[in-house]
């Protein structure tokens, strides 16, 4: 028997979409968090409503974790497909919890296993001289030392139905997710009380459902405890007192929470994965509490007919002075390109939360990629200023969201806040958000104008040419401050002009705002250097977690690596990044895309080409191990210039 590992493991639950995989994973994550542990979880799912395979990976530790790993220590399942999809990833000494009723299911009997996956699974099993049933897959795992935990879910449900005096068994079958979860908790000897509290919490909106699930969970927990009493399973989860001020938060909540704090009071959107959750969270919480006041605030959230309307409405709203945003993903952002330029030339502060997913076209609509960096920086015809800021994780995205509204107001331009599927569909424990940490800066927005804002004719000049490229901005409805906007080049008042001299002045005015922004934006919002070494990883966005965790693992081997996390993509902080690269002998570009888009930005602005490239574009976020292995290979001196990562089911 291996030694026991307590409070450090990777747990996965899988099942058909719509069968409660998410709920079970949320309960697990919350139970661990309530048990004083740190979690990082991520959700993988198909573009499908019901039936396709989805799974949720949660890494648990007694220390902060920021990424997932390839390995699975505990696989909780209640269908055949989850076994077929993941049996190879379960580690020796790890566990597979499975339903006895699916043991004889043939691979060919699972229609949602597509041909490509089926061929891979078949190859593995045949190579091992095994048949093609779940039992064979389990046998394969068992040979490698995986411990199998068979649960007769149906029989347990029948027993439970009798005990609960509820003959509606069909209703109860919906609880197999919680039963699989509960079994995993039992074999890991996790506190059943903490688990029960987590179940109550997740189903808090439906008291009856919550109670039923708690009882079902307890029923299975007791059963599994008794049945596997002698298993002496190697992985344990032990609840401990919680640290102060910790929260467990999902990536599709953090930016929406930031918007509330930032004072965003208008959001227009068109449904798209993985951005819709942001808008829906705002709408679900449209009435806002205000400090020290009986009054309430509110957010108007509008579902539009398309993304063109979404950004157009947000711009229209922004013109009235309301902090306004839209949230979208690549396909929607493609439609927004023209209006983005309109906001640019008219100097309108509007925020676009760009939750990237794998493109092009529909791409992998529910999968992850960082493929839209070039596009965000360049979207729209002609030249106009915009700010592009990329957040690296859930916690950052909360504070960055407040900052992007400040930047939009201060520099009177559209701001694209880069997020992605990996952030949106992950869950993490972190320090409680501090809403007061970032102030509200509305820049040169004024409620009334002064004489110096007027031209010779006494008209207010919305686009006044002066030493300061930023003009005082009034909002629609301001007395004595009428102005015009047009998508055409314009005069200081905002009327159409094709004058060549004025054109140059207006272009200069707008573009000069970028230089000013570059001067004023604090370094920590431009790029962050983690650690120091002459080997430097340059990366951005949600790869941050895997890179940080890999750095720590490398440090454990005695290898120090520096990590330059670039946040501001436009205007690009060339000087800062250059200074961070000073003394770096080996530069490694790590990104979730094919071409290495940040690498090309660095080359363009800093004149330095990455020595190595680690890229990934299979739609699955980078894991700790693959980043670690790829960097290790570079350090070992036998890596090709470009390594393509491929992990993930």
């Amino acid at each position: 028997m291996e030694k026991t590992t307590t409070n450090s493991l990777s747990w996965v639950i899988g099942g058909a979409q719509g069968s409660g995989v998410d709920s079970a994973a949320n309960i697990f994550s919350r139970a661990c968090a309530a048990g004083g542990l740190h979690v990082f979880g991520k959700r993988e799912y198909y573009s499908n409503i019901k039936g396709e395979h989805s799974y949720f990976t949660v890494r648990v530790s007694d220390r902060p974790v920021h990424s997932h790993v390839n390995e699975i220590n505990v696989l909780a399942s209640f269908d055949a497909e989850t076994i077929f999809r993941h049996f190879e990833d379960v580690t020796p000494g790890g566990a597979i919890i499975y339903d006895s009723d699916v043991a004889n299911t043939l691979l060919s009997e699972v229609p949602t296993v597509d041909d490509h996956a089926a061929a891979r699974i078949k190859k593995t099993l045949e190579k091992a001289g095994l048949g093609l049933t779940v039992q064979d897959a389990l046998g394969h795992a068992k040979r490698r030392g995986v411990v199998l935990f068979q649960i007769p879910f149906f029989q347990l449900l029948q027993e439970f139905a009798q005990k609960a005096n509820d003959p509606a068994l069909s209703k109860l079958t919906r609880m197999v997710n919680v039963m699989a979860l509960s079994t995993s908790m039992a074999i890991m000897d996790f506190d059943n009380e903490v688990l029960a509290r987590a179940i109550q919490f997740i189903f808090r909106a439906k008291k009856k459902v919550a109670d039923l699930n708690v009882s079902a969970s307890a029923h299975v927990y007791i059963y599994a405890k008794a049945k596997f009493a002698g298993s002496n399973f190697a992985y344990r989860l032990k609840a401990r007192p919680t640290e102060k001020d910790m929260i467990i938060v999902q990536g599709n909540q953090s930016s929406a929470l930031g918007k509330m704090v930032a004072g965003c009071r208008f959001q227009a959107y068109y449904p798209i994965t993985p951005a819709s959750d942001d808008s829906e969270f705002l709408e679900a919480n449209e009435i806002l509490d205000l400090n020290d006041s009986g009054k309430k605030g509110s957010t108007v959230v509008i579902q539009t007919e398309d993304e063109i309307a979404a950004i157009a409405m947000a711009i229209g709203s922004a013109l009235t002075g309301a902090r306004s945003a839209t949230a979208t993903s690549g396909p929607g952002f493609s439609l927004m390109a023209e209006a983005l330029g309109w906001a640019g030339i008219n100097e309108v502060p509007v925020v676009i939360s760009l939750y990237q997913r794998a493109g092009p076209a529909t791409g992998l609509p529910t999968r992850h990629e960082q493929g839209d960096l070039n596009f965000a920086v360049n979207a729209g015809h002609g030249e106009f200023p915009r700010i592009v800021l990329a957040s690296g994780d859930i916690e950052e995205s909360f504070y960055d969201t407040i900052k992007v509204f400040n930047l939009a107001d201060r520099y009177q331009m559209p701001v694209i806040h880069m997020l992605d599927k990996a952030i949106a569909n992950s869950v993490t424990t972190c320090r409680n958000f501090d809403p007061g940490k970032v102030g509200i800066d509305r820049g040169s927005m004024v409620r009334q104008i002064t004489d110096k804002d007027k031209g010779v004719a006494g008209n207010y000049l919305r686009f006044k040419l002066s030493d300061n490229p930023i003009s005082p901005r009034v909002v629609l409805g301001t007395k004595d401050a009428i102005f015009w906007n047009t998508g055409d080049e314009h005069t200081e008042e905002g009327h159409i002009s094709e004058d060549p001299e004025l054109r140059v002045q207006m272009m200069d005015k707008r573009m000069n705002k970028l230089e000013l922004a570059l001067k004023e934006i604090p370094d920590e919002d431009k790029a962050v250097a983690h650690g120091s070494s002459d080997i430097a990883i340059v990366s951005w966005g949600s790869t941050k977690g895997a890179v940080l965790d890999a750095m720590e693992k490398l440090a454990g081997d005695g290898t120090k690596v520096k990590f330059i996390q670039v946040k501001l993509m436009s205007p690009f902080p060339s000087e800062l990044v250059r200074s961070m690269l000073n003394g770096v002998k080996t530069m490694i570009d790590i990104e979730m895309n094919y071409t290495g888009q940040l690498g090309s930005l660095v080359r363009q602005h800093v004149g330095r080409e990455a020595d190595y490239q680690i890229v990934k574009y299979n739609g699955r976020p980078m894991s700790l191990d693959e980043v670690y292995n790829a960097v290790k290979r570079i350090i070992g001196g036998d890596a090709p210039r470009r390594q393509v990562l491929k992990s993930g089911a």
Partner: protein, 322 residues
């Protein structure tokens, strides 16, 4: 001091072609604003792209000249963020019914309390006379290389089924009548649409001013031209839905009347239904103080620049020790 018509005029040079129907519409809008004594800073004219898109630059209110086809979403966004302001959206027939048709239909579903005026001359003027969505099938205006191969859309009927709650048609050279329509549209509770027929003297050589006046259509007895336009209100037509039970009948007569074309063309109010809640009312049903505390007027920070929004309730739900 009463506001005069001249208070709504800018000194921007107007570069529309001589005889352009746009002038009549511009005048009617300015006259309506003056008649209603709307303070210029309280109104915003939104426009799309094309000759009509230049309209806001000639009117001394806030003026937002947007993108091709997108005038309605821009205007709706502004109106919903600040329902206290008067928003009038204007645009061409290609702008609103071609590239912007999706927004047109969706706007009907919302019924935002504002006005949309289409300058309808059946051609794309500024790009040199291509066929617009309202040009009839088989028509060959002078700059078309071939006769129009598309059928035309019926703007009034489309607006009706989309859910607009005020439908009218005006004629750009009957400025007073059009001014009255605009005033009624502004007073209407809900989304009002005015389809304004206008000649394009440069590119539409079929539906000309003379054609509208009926110079080709002489009464054999009186030897006088018989104008094609006639006013619905002078025929006893009543488009107002006085009671919701009348909706089907009132809608049916809109389809019939709006299909009239050729010899006789009706103008006036086709339909008005104030029994449909406006989008503002729908928001206010969920956000009780929305009308007084709309997004544009909400305070979001204290005087030290600190947020005043509290998310404690939501954060407490996320606490691990919850």
């Amino acid at each position: 001091m009463a506001l005069k018509l001249s208070d709504y005029k800018t000194d921007v040079h107007n570069d529309w072609c001589p005889g352009c129907g746009d002038f009549g519409i511009l005048n009617a809008i300015q006259m309506a604003l003056a008649d209603m004594q709307v303070p210029p800073y309280k109104a915003t004219i939104f426009s799309g792209i094309g000759c009509s898109g230049k309209t806001p630059h000639f009117i001394k209110t806030y003026g937002i000249h947007t993108l091709h086809g997108r005038v309605l979403p821009f205007a709706q966004g502004a109106k919903l963020a600040n329902p206290d302001l008067e928003m009038i959206a204007v645009g061409g027939d290609g702008d609103g019914l071609g590239i912007g048709a999706g927004h047109f239909v969706s706007a009907g579903r919302r019924n935002v309390d504002m006005v949309y005026i289409i300058f309808n001359n059946a051609v794309y003027g500024l790009t040199k006379g291509q066929a617009s969505p309202t040009l009839k099938l088989g028509m060959k205006t002078k700059s078309l290389p071939q006769p129009n191969v598309n059928n035309s859309v019926n703007p009034i009927a489309l607006a009706l089924v989309a859910g607009f709650t005020f439908l009218a048609r005006g004629y750009s050279y009957d400025v007073r009548h059009l001014k009255d329509l605009i005033m009624k549209a502004v007073a209407h509770k809900g989304l009002a649409f005015i389809d304004v027929l206008q000649p394009c003297p440069t590119y539409n050589d079929i539906n000309t001013k003379e054609w509208f006046q009926g110079l080709d259509n002489v009464d054999p007895e009186t030897h006088k031209a018989m104008p094609r336009m006639y006013k619905l209100e002078e025929t006893g037509y009543d488009g107002v839905v006085h009671d919701p039970s009348e909706i089907n009948q009132k809608m049916a007569q809109v389809i019939e009347k709006s299909n009239e074309w050729g010899g006789k063309i009706p103008i006036g109010i086709f339909y008005q239904n104030e029994h449909v809640p406006t989008y503002q009312e729908r928001i206010a049903a969920r956000i009780p103080d929305y009308m007084e505390n709309a997004p544009a007027v909400q305070q979001i920070a204290d005087n030290k620049g600190k947020t005043i929004t509290s998310i404690d309730r939501l954060l407490s739900d996320l606490r691990v020790d919850k």
